[in-house]
């Protein structure tokens, strides 16, 4: 366990949102990510799950500093990314890449597949000749399951799955150490999802990279992750090893999420006891006091409104932020 691979400590990303005022605006912070801490080890996959709007994508982008953090640190191999200036940050990004959710939107429509994949090389290996670059791009295309002769095609000529492969090839061509996957498969149909997830796992094994895998699909997260982080309204609810969290979820929110996953067996599915959540996710502009989940929590009591639950250990490598996890 290297302590200093990726350490995120108390990361906060707040967006100012205009809430009133006529001439001089009144701004309130929208707490997209509010005090998230986690570690990531080399070669490990951390799955980040949560509902829409809970700050998953913001967290991923803040780790790469594509969105500036309001507070907290993201320390990468010992250096704090939030303190770097523009040039140092560009240099640091050589090892940090991202795969986006929408495969087509993340590719420049005026660039050929070859140019898109080669872009990181042009930025970080300016000394490379055209021929060398082309060779590397062709190799990478083959690696992600694209035919090298499609190098001159434009993004709109590819299917969604192929576009995502181009996005993956672009992220992998520099052999980065950490790749943030921001819902890389949620825009694809199920058969392609499996292919892309398996491709990511193959690449992870071959290149030894770490993944921060953001998704709302618990089945896929279960397939790919070593550890799972459950987010709700920008706060960590539970962080645990995959086996432990799927077998014994402690947090009521995690339990509700897991019970919502359909079982592909109608008999079991009907017999299953579901933890139903009532109401909607509260506005992150006006989060509930104390535990942010208390408004929808079946176990909420008075203490939940007063005190913010801290992450406490509920077992080996299993942290949970709930006042009532063991009751």
């Amino acid at each position: 366990m290297s302590e200093s691979f990726l350490q995120v400590r108390d990361l906060k990303v707040h967006f100012p949102v205009r809430t009133g005022g006529i001439l001089i605006g009144q701004y309130s912070p929208l707490k997209a990510v509010d005090g998230v801490s986690f570690d990531l080890n080399p070669g490990e996959t951390l799955g980040v799950v949560g509902e829409s709007g809970c700050g998953k994508s913001t967290l991923g982008r803040a780790v790469l500093q594509l969105i500036g953090a309001t507070d907290g640190t993201v320390s990468w191999l010992g250096t704090d990314l939030t303190s770097l200036d523009k040039k140092e940050l560009i240099a640091a990004r050589e090892n940090l890449q991202i795969v986006f959710q929408d495969p087509l939107a993340s590719l420049d429509p005026r660039m050929t597949a070859g140019d898109i994949i080669a872009e990181p090389l042009r930025n970080y290996r300016p000394a490379m000749t055209k021929a060398e670059r082309r060779k590397m791009v062709a190799g990478m295309m083959e690696r992600v399951g694209l035919l090298p002769r499609m190098i001159n095609r434009y993004p709109h000529e590819f299917s969604g799955g192929q576009c995502q492969r181009i996005g993956i090839a672009r992220a992998m061509i520099l052999h980065p150490k950490l790749v943030v996957c921001d819902e890389p498969v949620s825009a694809l149909d199920v058969s392609i999802q499996a292919q892309v997830v398996n491709l990511l796992m193959d690449l992870q094994r071959d290149l030894g990279l770490s993944l921060l895998f953001i998704s709302h699909d618990l089945a896929i997260v279960r397939h790919i992750s070593h550890r799972v982080l459950v987010l709700y309204l920008g706060r960590v609810m539970e962080l645990a090893d995959k086996a432990s969290i799927y077998a014994t979820p402690h947090h009521p929110y995690t339990q509700a999420l897991l019970s919502a996953v359909p079982i592909p067996d109608p008999v079991k599915e009907r017999a299953k006891e579901r933890v139903l959540l009532t109401g909607d996710i509260p506005s992150p502009l006006y989060p509930p006091s104390g535990c942010v989940f208390r408004t929808r929590c079946p176990r909420a009591t008075a203490i939940c409104a007063d005190e913010v639950p801290q992450l406490e250990q509920a077992g080996a490598g299993h942290d949970v932020a709930c006042h009532h996890w063991n009751t």
């Binding site: 560009i90 001159n152 392609i192």
Partner: protein
């Protein structure tokens, strides 16, 4: 694999052959655009027509026996085409050779159209892309500057320039360009704003692109389609603006002329000698027509989705 490559592309007849020949040879957007452009007959014909017109205007005067300022003292009035006197298109009301004047006027109109528009293009795209992409204070400053420039009356601006720097043929191009870039920068800024939050820009930043390289590599190629359409609208506008300035005596000075000025002259005599109006008018409209077709073709060629 379920997403196997599509091997035929019916809309581009050369695609397969090229794919096989070049295999993994990378092609740039520009090479592709040129190839697509060649397939567009109207645009190619327009381009050829424009080149022919330009060459004739710039080289033709060498082969015409009269110059644009020479007055044929034997005539001193508008004469119909006369091959014996070598006035192949006749003369104007002062007895100057029509053909020579037409060619010289073409030189001025072409130069105004292309140079002034280039000035507007370079300034407008740079300012617009910077304002839109960097945003914040830079955007505020640049756009308020544009607002101020918009408020300055065109005539006033040009007259001041002429007074300060003296009358200069090339200064007029610059002056027109300095006025025309304003709208261009607004258009580019608007386009850039819609592009700025696209995921592929974020992806470019994640792949280590600096602001400058993102503007050059991603923003500009993506706004080009709109810009080119605007350019083809600007060229005619600029040519007409020049003739207006010439008419006021701020543009080219007699005996030099331009197509716009020739039309203005011809319009006064169109009842007596319609020829003096029709000839420059035909030249000007052919040119503008070709520019429009060319612009449309370029826009299509630069958009990979449209093949």
């Amino acid at each position: 694999m379920s997403d196997a490559p599509v091997t035929s592309n019916l809309r581009v007849p050369h695609s397969d052959a090229l794919d096989k020949a070049a295999d993994v040879e990378g092609r740039s957007l520009w090479q592709d655009a040129f190839r697509r452009m060649q397939a567009n007959r109207a645009a190619m014909a327009s381009a050829i027509m424009l080149i022919v017109l330009a060459v004739v205007c710039f080289v033709g005067p060498l082969f015409v026996p009269w110059t644009y300022e020479e007055i044929d003292w034997d005539l001193l009035e508008a004469t119909p085409p006369n091959f014996e006197l070598k006035h192949y298109l006749g003369t104007d009301s002062l007895g100057r050779d029509m053909l020579a004047r037409l060619l010289q006027g073409g030189q001025v109109s072409f130069m105004v159209g292309i140079l002034a528009t280039s000035v507007a293009l370079v300034i407008g795209v740079t300012v617009g892309a910077m304002a839109g992409f960097i945003g914040g204070r830079v955007d505020q400053f640049l756009m308020r500057f544009v607002d101020v420039m918009y408020a300055v009356p065109l005539m006033f601006f040009i007259i001041i320039l002429m007074v300060v720097f003296g009358r200069n043929f090339y200064l007029m191009f610059l002056a027109i360009g300095f006025v025309e870039w304003l709208t261009m920068s607004r258009i580019v800024r608007g386009q850039t704003l819609t592009l700025r939050n696209k995921e592929f820009i974020e992806a470019a930043r994640a792949s280590g692109g600096s602001t400058t390289s993102i503007i050059i590599r991603h923003i500009i190629p993506n706004v080009l389609g709109v810009v080119i359409v605007y350019v083809t609208l600007t060229i005619p506008q600029v040519i007409l603006l020049e003739s207006f300035l010439s008419f006021l005596g701020l543009g080219v000075q007699a005996p030099m002329t331009s197509w716009g000025a020739l039309i203005a002259e011809g319009a006064q005599e169109m009842e007596i000698t319609p020829r003096t109006l029709i000839l420059p008018a035909v030249c000007l409209s052919t040119t503008l027509f070709c520019f429009n077709f060319l612009g449309d073709g370029l826009r299509d060629a630069l958009d990979p989705k449209d093949r």
